[in-house]
């Protein structure tokens, strides 16, 4: 009998190892087959730098927009009992299960030049959203915001509301309580939601190419660049994939470290 900490049950260890292998193998293959030699040249190419810059900028804006409107939405869904709440909650989850391309088509039908709302705007101003960088942000926000809303709503629902009552008894109004009690206490979940949202926005492809189209420098994000490079230059596609992978990893690690340092319960 071994003293001290017991080993985890072997069945769990084996399954966990399989899962890890399954997730890591494609990434390892990417690293192994990457054309490391041509990487510096590729990174220097303006189209690659454009795509990367565009991806990061649009993902950051999309995440910011999602946070600014998504957190209030999560609060309303969690705290306010209004008629049709369960329907609203289901609709918010819809972009999660909708194939991204379908999302893109839906966006076109709503905000395109002939769209339900977009058509009115076009008739009025002569301007339409598709094929612009703003359209990329819209597409990314559409697919990524539900991640944030779901995470934050779940956290709010599980939150011990007695803390909010304590805040109220000390004279703090509802917004003050949200700002000074609830959100700080929910910071880890909030951060998780934001990171998830950002990652999803960064990797978005189907809705982007359908709604925003593909124009280098304006709407060609990294995922689009990778997909299109696959047509005639697979090596370039692999290299670009690697770049995206490294950038994504860097962002994730950066964010996680920041929030883990402020662990509230120790």
């Amino acid at each position: 009998m071994r003293r001290g900490r017991a080993l985890p049950p072997w069945s769990l260890t084996v399954l966990a190892a399989l899962a890890l292998l399954f997730l890591l193998l494609p990434l390892l293959a990417l690293l192994l087959r990457a054309p490391w030699a041509s990487l510096p040249r590729l990174l220097g190419e303006p189209s690659v730098r454009d795509a990367l810059r565009l991806s990061l900028v649009t993902a950051v804006i999309a995440t910011s927009v999602a946070t600014v409107v998504g957190v209030p939405l999560a609060w309303v869904l969690a705290r306010v009992d209004f008629p049709g709440r369960s329907l609203a909650r289901a609709l918010v989850t819809l972009p999660l299960v909708l194939p991204p391309v379908v999302g893109g088509v839906a966006l076109l039908l709503a905000l395109g030049r002939r769209g339900v709302v977009g058509g009115l705007i076009y008739d009025w101003t002569g301007w339409s959203l598709p094929f612009s960088t703003a359209a990329v942000v819209v597409a990314e926000t559409f697919v990524a915001m539900p991640f944030l809303v779901i995470t934050v709503e779940g956290a709010l629902r599980g939150f011990d509301q007695r803390y909010e009552e304590a805040g109220a008894m000390l004279g703090a109004g509802r917004l003050t309580v949200l700002r000074r009690v609830t959100l700080p206490m929910l910071a880890p979940s909030l951060a998780a939601g934001v990171v998830l949202c950002f990652a999803r926005a960064l990797g978005e492809f189907g809705a982007t190419i359908t709604f925003a189209g593909n124009a280098p420098g304006r709407t060609q994000t990294m995922p689009l660049a990778v997909y299109l490079a696959l047509e005639d230059d697979p090596q370039a596609a692999i290299a670009l994939s690697l770049v995206l992978l490294v950038v994504s990893l860097a962002v994730l690690l950066l964010l996680r470290d920041r929030w883990l340092r402020r662990d509230l319960l120790t």
């Binding site: 007695r162 803390y163 805040g167 004279g171 703090a172 003050t176």
Partner: protein, 361 residues
């Protein structure tokens, strides 16, 4: 912090709970709500705080009307000058002790520097200033509860509510904190309402005791009076008294509802339904019919024996049944065991006979 006396008529109907309680507390007075779990005491407190809606009734603090169902007045909790201390300290984990205490001050409009100054003063007053920079997670249960109280007081409430403030603490901490709490409640100028199911809290902290059972007030008065002359089995059990209901005859004998007759000392013209209270310590047990003075003597059968502290509590069936506290030596001498027949004697002087009057307003 000027405020008035509390005058509340609380009626809450919610599901299986039906609460109908009138409460009054003057400035500086500590009213303790005592009662079994589910009696509605916490609901009453939450109604005072504005966290639970009244079905009917009115809450006024001096000239301020906080709640008036008929007139359609409802002041939300955050605008009531009411402080609430919970069983759980509910300190904000992401703030230091000082910022926790400053929270209420800041919420009411002070800037950060001013609120921190006020917090520091309060922490010093309650001898907790050495904890100012500590995070709540590093505090002991007792310390956390003290900080919670300081936080509530620093916000300058005109009414202080405490919901089982000592219940989550271990026995020794509870004893220490009970004394501290008494001191703080004495210095606090406004009315306080404290809810508890612990009789010791009630007896130590209360200026006036209000017993609530099944959503209704069943007895109210100074704690000593309530303890000596309980109106309900709950309180009797709580303070450890034998309680009987009966009818007093003109000659002074009380015919008990459960069977048997008891005679108390003194004469009284009062006849009719009465309550009789008897301390277990005043009950004597004998192997054979006792000689001498006791006016109340009857026979019974031992049903249970239990060690309570350094005494032995003996439960005896008879007319009436009784709980008796005897020494271990007596148990040995009498050879007490379940099933044994014993003689019980009680002096007339040791019986409290009183009317179960309706509770005073």
């Amino acid at each position: 912090m000027t405020g008035g006396a509390l005058a509340a008529q609380l009626q809450v109907e919610r599901g299986s709970l039906s609460l109908h309680v009138d409460l009054a507390a003057s400035a500086g007075e500590v009213v303790v709500l005592l009662g079994p779990n589910g009696a509605g005491k916490s609901t009453a407190l939450r109604a005072l705080a504005g966290l639970t809606a009244l079905t009917a009734g009115r809450i006024a603090l001096g000239d301020q009307v906080l709640d008036d169902v008929e007139a359609g007045v409802f002041v939300p909790p955050e605008r009531r000058p009411v402080g609430l201390v919970h069983q759980d300290p509910l300190l904000f984990p992401h703030l230091t002790v000082r910022d926790n205490v400053a929270f209420g001050v800041r919420a009411r409009g002070a800037d950060r520097a001013a609120s921190r100054r006020v917090a520091a003063e309060w922490l010093e007053r309650l001898r907790l200033d050495h904890l100012a920079a500590v995070r709540p997670a590093a505090l002991s249960g007792g310390q956390a509860q003290q900080v919670a109280l300081t936080r509530a007081l620093a916000a300058g409430p005109q009414l202080l509510l405490l919901d089982e403030p000592l219940a989550a603490l271990d026995a020794s901490t509870r004893a220490v904190l009970r004394t501290e709490l008494r001191e703080h409640l004495t210095t606090y100028g406004g009315p306080s309402v404290l809810v508890t199911h612990d009789p010791l809290d009630a007896l130590v902290l209360a200026d006036r005791l209000v017993v609530v059972e099944a959503g209704r007030v069943v007895q109210a008065g100074p704690p000593g009076d309530v303890a000596r002359r309980p109106h309900t089995d709950f309180v009797a059990r709580l303070v450890g008294l034998n309680l009987y209901r009966g009818t007093r005859a003109p000659d002074g004998a009380v015919a008990l509802d459960g069977g048997g007759v008891l005679r108390a000392a003194g004469t009284s013209s009062a006849t009719g339904p009465v309550l009789v209270a008897l301390r277990p310590g005043a009950v004597a047990l004998h192997a054979s019919h006792p000689e001498g003075s006791p006016r109340n003597v009857w026979r019974g059968t031992v049903t249970g024996i239990e060690l309570v502290g350094d005494r032995v509590r003996v439960a005896i069936d008879g007319a009436p049944s009784v709980l008796a506290d005897v020494t271990a030596a007596a148990v040995a001498d009498l050879g007490l065991q379940p099933g044994l027949g014993v003689w019980i004697s009680v002096k007339a002087n040791d019986l409290e006979v009183y009317r179960s009057a309706p509770p005073p307003p």
